[in-house]
């Protein structure tokens, strides 16, 4: 995977063309800042809906955005960092909750899914911004985010509701379905933002260097 910040422009070792040793300071900073961004967006008021106690939040937007902007590896790391900090007990989850106890809540499945969503969205985004024409970036980034949501976020979310709220599959799917319209809109917003970010910072993912 190619990772470099705008001014630190070495990704592959020029001799072998193989992946270089590891993350640089710039990557570390991006991971930390995006983990903070997810936490900050999680602080915006969560809207409780339905009976199972999983709210509508902006975390899902932030998690997809993190993947689309940072790519698979850093995206996964950023979201995983956020989840780990929350599990330690810092109140960064929806409605200022935190601690290992959230794993017993109906929303646990979503939380576990977050890093995977970022990783898959990031992998697809990497392909999109590297291989596709610029005009297609935003629509395809939207598809990338949506695919990641439907591969991990919603299935794991449903599983979590079944296990922790004791609902059967049908009821759990129904409980999750409430989020779908909102999540589609969030994917549109995430794609719009990510497409623009890649134009402002081509070195983030888009630019290939000889």
């Amino acid at each position: 995977m190619k990772t470099s910040t705008s001014q630190v422009r070495e990704a592959r070792s020029p001799e072998t063309g193989r992946r270089r040793q590891g993350w640089r300071a710039g990557d570390l900073a991006l991971i930390a800042v995006f983990a903070a961004l997810i936490a900050t967006m999680g602080m915006l008021p969560a809207i409780p809906v339905g009976g199972v106690g999983v709210p509508i939040t902006l975390q899902s937007l932030a998690v997809i955005l993190t993947g689309l902007v940072l790519g698979p590896a850093r995206g996964f790391a950023a979201t995983a960092l956020y989840v780990v900090v929350g599990l330690i007990g810092i109140p960064v989850f929806a409605g200022f909750t935190g601690g290992i106890g959230v794993l017993a809540k109906p929303s646990a499945g979503y939380i576990i899914a977050f890093p995977l969503v970022s990783a898959l969205a990031g992998l697809l985004a990497l392909i999109v911004v590297r291989k596709m024409k610029r005009a297609w970036h935003i629509p395809l980034l939207f598809v990338a985010g949506l695919l990641a949501s439907f591969t991990f976020m919603h299935p794991l979310g449903i599983a979590g509701i079944m296990v922790n709220a004791g609902l059967d599959l049908r009821a759990a799917i129904a409980a999750d379905a409430i989020f779908i319209p909102g999540d589609v809109i969030k994917n549109v917003v995430a794609a719009l933002i990510a497409g623009t970010v890649h134009r402002a910072f081509p070195d983030l993912l888009a630019r290939r260097r000889a």
């Binding site: 001014q7 630190v8 422009r9 070495e10 020029p14 610029r134 134009r199 081509p202 888009a206 630019r207 290939r208 260097r209 000889a210």
Partner: protein
């Protein structure tokens, strides 16, 4: 003094449409003087040249070595030797207070927390910042903040200090303060600036024009050369 060497080092960037643009033409230089100043127009390539020296930018062609260490292969080692001070001190300070920021710098050198804390205070003392050690960096004045930024970089004892317009955001007094501080340092120093008085205070000067070293020599001659370059252009017409 260290030997800062550019061997045909060039920087080119590709934009999103795949077009390549040269930011710095192939340049060969050997810098061994104690104080080197770099002047030139906006967008001429000063910051790019400076960033090459500690591997914040990698050459797309040629190589850059510091005392024989290649920025490409030994990046981490080079950056330990070459400290970098940015124009905006706010971008440089990453911790809430001065002491914490210097301690962060020292983490690699000093594993014992108490010794680290002592060394941090000593470093601050040296710049007359001891009283401000516990203050939020946002509550410092511009000059204090720039001094602190320089202190955090010097705390790890680099042999070379690269400074990109370190006095532009400062008022008269603070500019004087930073200037006299720099004059008193033992480190080798490469400094880009639009302040021609500051540029005169050097052993060697480079004028960068449109991505190449257009003049290389004594500071007085370089400043004269640059003034002439500016005067020669049709006013209000942009270079390039």
């Amino acid at each position: 003094m260290s030997v800062l060497q550019l061997d045909g080092a060039a920087v080119a960037v590709t934009d999103l449409d795949g077009d390549s643009k040269t930011v710095l033409a192939p340049t060969s230089l050997t810098l061994t003087e104690r104080r080197i100043s770099v002047i030139g127009a906006n967008g001429s390539g000063k910051s790019t040249l400076l960033r090459l020296l500690n591997g914040l930018v990698m050459p797309s062609e040629g190589s850059v070595t510091i005392d024989g260490l290649d920025t490409r292969k030994d990046g981490a080692k080079v950056r330990r030797r070459v400290g970098f001070v940015f124009t905006d001190p706010a971008a440089q300070l990453v911790m809430p207070t001065g002491r914490e920021d210097v301690e962060l710098s020292l983490r690699r050198l000093e594993k014992d927390p108490r010794a680290r804390s002592r060394r941090a205070m000593a470093a601050l003392e040296r710049f007359g910042l001891a009283e401000l050690a516990e203050q939020s960096v946002y509550e410092l004045s511009g000059g204090e903040r720039q001094l602190l930024a320089i202190a955090t970089v010097l705390a790890v004892e680099p042999t070379v200090l690269v400074l990109d317009e370190p006095t532009t955001l400062l008022d008269l007094r603070n500019r004087e303060l930073v200037r006299s501080l720099l004059a008193g340092l033992d480190q080798q120093m490469v400094l880009a600036t639009h302040d021609l008085d500051l540029a005169l205070d050097a052993d060697r000067s480079l004028v960068i024009d449109d991505g190449r070293v257009a003049f290389d020599g004594s500071p007085a001659a370089a400043v004269a050369w640059y003034r002439q370059l500016v005067a020669a252009e049709i006013p209000l017409e942009r270079r390039k």
